[in-house]
Symmetry: none
Subunit: 133 residues, 4 copies
């Protein structure tokens, strides 16, 4: 299970990148069972992105997969039409990334929302990388 200290390191790394690129973001860290571990809304981050950040992390935790990879399954022509409507509604665009420990076991997930999707992804990647360091 992810610890509070690990969750804080993930969020701090995400915030640092968000500041660098000037995007106030919501950053959520959930454990492997998709339960909230830590969260921060940076000053100026959109209210509507709170739910998106949490749900990106939840989606990545539930499927042990990046949110945009899940999105491939439910795009037009994908194998799983309507997949995004399961589990009470998933978020299937980029910004949710599973967090792994040193043995490559999934211990949780981070979700970021606040900027353009490419920016959210960049912040989420920086956040997730904090555990690899």
């Amino acid at each position: 299970m992810i610890t509070t200290d690990e969750a804080r390191r993930v969020i701090a790394a995400g915030e640092a990148r968000a500041r660098e690129i000037g995007v106030p973001a919501n950053i959520a860290v959930l454990d492997a069972g998709a339960h909230m571990k830590a969260f921060v809304r940076m000053d100026g981050a959109l209210l509507g992105s709170i739910d998106i950040a949490v749900n990106k992390a939840r989606t990545a935790a539930l499927f042990s997969m990046r949110t945009e990879a899940i999105g491939e399954f439910c795009r037009p022509g994908g194998t799983s039409f309507g997949l995004e409507q399961t589990n009470g509604g998933l978020v299937v665009f980029a910004g949710g990334i599973p967090l792994t420990d040193g043995s490559n076991i999934v211990i949780g997930a981070v979700g970021v929302s606040g900027g353009a999707v490419a920016q959210d992804l960049e912040i989420a990647q920086a956040a997730a990388a904090a555990l690899a360091a």
Copy 2:
């Protein structure tokens, strides 16, 4: 009505096929009234697939039809745009199959989720075949 013994045979047959193809799956058996009868999450199966397996079985039970057949009605160009949003949200890709008794009466449904859609379908077919044997 499907019995507990029948439900267990269905799940056991599904699990056997899942192990053969190396896919840890969630397998749900519902009765003809779409009420849960038996369920198992194989070790390693995705948490996000619990809801999908149950909902595939629910969808198949409610319409006495395979989930992917229902999916035909709501695909672009199909007759029933938005059908998948009825009944609190249906799952309309493969992996949910009605279960029939010797007289071809629907007595329930099985739903499988955990692998690629084609794998889920293969496991569900093996599961459903247990009652025909």
Copy 3:
């Protein structure tokens, strides 16, 4: 995390006791994160008790506590008026018990519903004891 084999042993022990006392029961086993691991509805068990069994297990998993102990907090004169309405609605009468491993770590929970509350509790205790054996 509780394994499928452990979950089945828990359910089998619960079913055995339920048969002894002549009470068809719903028996649910969830993991420590409150996600469904295994479930069975014995033949003749009440449909309305499916949700109760699952929710007893969910309540016990979320609080690492027997459901009736949680009920003490929210009874008239208890410390936590309305506690049962949190988490989307808890079940706070007997029949939900945390499952522990050999080191007394909570690895999940079992929930039983189908008979009188005292019967449900007896079945749940027999079920939970299977992991201690």
Copy 4:
């Protein structure tokens, strides 16, 4: 509006007190509009208390009042029978406290859950006091 730095100070003060009294707690800080600003689940804190901590803060923010004060209105004999069922379900026992700035304007609320109600209240008071310092 409460800032991220202020929210972190509130949580840090709550965590410090929680450690002193040996109670792993969930601590949530919401802004005056009842939107999540920051959250932490201390290692070992109950999963079922996540929702309660967030909802205590939400309740306190929505009514600019401590949760136990709102509880007085809806206890047997109080003026507002069923009040706790409004707003999608309030939490009306102690542990949610409005946060005020130097001019005594409400800028958010903190909610704490994880221990006995008296412990949650003690942690929440320590957390709220961080902004007064």
